[in-house]
């Protein structure tokens, strides 16, 4: 097994863990962190799978850099929303849909 494939498999594992966390955990902060784990897993797979004969492929590295920028922006928005929601309602989790009037 090449090192690249090992990284890729670790990436898949992280992705699955993160996805499960983002769906199953109740606390919003944990959900946001789990999403970041999930994203890192996808990045690791992208870079890991693209190693050919020990040589790194620059294209997926450029993609991962772009992806990290996107993930940082998404995390910032998510954290901002969590804070605003907490300030407004005192809750840090999503309740079952409220029927507003």
């Amino acid at each position: 097994m090449s090192a690249g494939l090992l990284y890729a498999l670790a990436g898949v594992l992280l992705f699955v863990l993160g996805a499960a966390g983002a769906i199953l955990l109740a606390h919003l902060l944990r959900k946001v962190l789990a999403f970041n784990v999930m994203g890192s897993g996808a990045f690791l797979t992208l870079v890991g799978l693209a190693q050919r004969e020990g040589l790194a492929d620059p294209v997926p590295q450029a993609m991962v850099l772009t992806g990290i920028v996107v993930a940082v922006a998404a995390t910032a928005l998510a954290l901002g929303l969590v804070r605003a929601l907490h300030a407004r309602t005192g809750r840090t989790h999503l309740t079952e849909e409220v029927r507003h009037d």
Partner: protein, 481 residues
């Protein structure tokens, strides 16, 4: 061929980004007039692109002169141009609407960052329609999702914030799944260009490709709010300000559907056949469940949002019928266009109704027929499209679907399509019924700006008249890369 820097495709992405940035710099609540002027220019660009393409075929624009694989290619074909035309036309009408809507004292507080966010949203959609590679599509999907979440949160109330949070989480997990798919595809084939991938993927593709296709399509279905991934949509579209709900329901969910269509007809065609029945089945379930909820809810905006869940179901009936060359695609795109115009009109009309009555429940609508008749007429016209009565665009779409189902001997879909039309009639008449009730003489109605009423009416009329323009649609869609 024009000069590269004059290419309308590139300007359709640059222009909204430019006015979004200027609107942001201008400060909260400002930038509306600029947005309207720029959107008018974008409409001209989209028409120019369409005319040019019918004459000289699909075109590829290498951004900055750097071609793929190092640079990013923009690709405009018939399908992309149709979606671009819909987006600019609906966005321009809604910009007129939003400008008047946010000028009203009740809504001024919600206007804060509407224009910058709307600009980014439109730029992201235009970029999505024009992207030619899977990774660039991921970036545009994320950009679109983040802008849409920002718009949902505009109101700043607890209901809006928690709807926005729910939407954001679904959107992030869904694009995470899509990104994982891209990683697997790149690892297997060493490319993310849709055109290069198409001939490489066959029916005996490795497991990783199947997994990638599954992850990407599932992620996109969640973003399109296909049953059973629809739970985020009614709160998000139901609690946002009216112009935002209209933008989201009419356009944003169509963007991820467009991408499903692209992948399904392109690189994943050999794999997707097996899932066609599943997609059609989920679409049918969405029609029944969405309509049922629309028949039950007490809130008028929720009713329209649930109707979106139902109408999105029709889009997925296209997949089991793709065997009928060309026709199913036309039906799907026609449904996307007709629903886009009709739902924009319906949310615009509901915005006026809520402004006039000051209430958001169906009960509160009693008597509006006498006060805002033009708006109610707009609502009914949009309803005609949703029900699929002639000569509306909805009729043409459903007719093409039924015809394709009969040609392939799949009777079940016909029952679903006609049943869905009846259910749509049910929830549209719930609103109309209530509107014609007589009310006590002391009931107060707020005056509403006429511009709001006329924009809703114009959009609704367009959705009905669209049914007469089937030939033009077919001509445009025939322009393949």
């Amino acid at each position: 061929m024009t000069e590269p820097w004059l290419d309308p495709a590139a300007w359709l992405i640059l222009l909204p980004l430019a006015w979004a940035s200027l609107a942001f710099l201008a400060g909260p609540g400002r930038g509306g007039r600029l947005a309207i002027a720029a959107l008018a220019a974008q409409c001209v660009l989209a028409v120019w692109l369409g005319v040019d393409m019918v004459e000289s075929g699909a075109r590829v624009h290498a951004v900055g002169g750097w071609g793929a694989p190092l640079g990013i290619d923009l690709m405009a074909d018939g399908l992309a141009t149709v979606m671009l035309l819909l987006t600019q036309a609906v966005a321009l009408s809604l910009a007129f609407y939003a400008h008047a809507y946010f000028a009203d004292a009740h809504h001024r507080a919600e206007a804060t960052w509407f224009w910058p966010l709307a600009g980014v949203l439109i730029a992201a959609m235009n970029a999505l329609f024009l992207s030619a590679d899977l990774f660039n599509l991921y970036v545009t999907l994320e950009l679109l999702g983040l802008a849409a979440v920002g718009l949902v949160a505009l109101g700043g109330g607890a209901a809006q914030l928690s709807a926005a949070m729910r939407y954001l989480l679904v959107s992030l997990v869904a694009s995470g799944a899509y990104l994982m798919g891209v990683a697997l595809i790149y690892g297997t084939y060493g490319t993310v260009s849709i055109a290069t991938l198409a001939p490489l993927i066959g029916q005996y593709a490795p497991l990783a490709t199947w997994l990638a296709a599954g992850l990407m399509l599932a992620g996109l279905m969640a973003k399109t709010a296909l049953f059973p991934f629809h739970a985020w949509l009614p709160p998000a579209h139901g609690s946002a300000p009216a112009p935002v709900s209209a933008l989201l329901s009419a356009l944003v969910v169509k963007a991820s559907f467009y991408l499903i269509l692209r992948l399904w007809l392109g690189p994943f065609a050999p794999l997707a056949e097996t899932a066609a029945w599943l997609a059609g089945g989920l679409g049918a379930a969405a029609i029944v469940w969405g309509s049922w909820q629309a028949l039950r809810t007490r809130h008028i905006k929720r009713l329209v949002a649930w109707s979106t869940v139902a109408q999105l179901g029709y889009l997925f009936l296209v997949f089991p019928l793709l065997a009928v060359e060309g026709q199913a695609l036309q039906a799907g795109v026609m449904q996307a266009l007709a629903h886009g115009l009709a739902k924009a009109a319906m949310f615009a009309a509901v915005g006026v109704l809520m402004l006039a009555t000051g209430r958001d429940t169906l009960d509160g609508l009693a008597g509006v027929a006498g006060r805002v008749p033009l708006t109610l007429f707009a609502f009914a016209l949009a309803g005609v499209t949703l029900m699929g009565l002639p000569p509306s665009g909805g009729f043409l779409a459903k007719w093409l679907l039924i015809d394709a189902a009969l040609l392939t001997g799949q009777w079940g879909w016909v029952v679903v399509i006609i049943g869905g039309g009846l259910l749509a009639a049910g929830y549209v008449f719930r609103v109309l019924n209530q509107a014609f009730l007589t009310v006590p003489a002391d009931t107060r109605f707020q005056p509403v700006p006429r511009r709001l009423e006329w924009m809703a009416f114009g959009l609704a009329l367009a959705s009905v008249l669209l049914g007469l323009r089937g030939m033009e649609l077919a001509t445009l869609l025939a322009v393949a890369p």
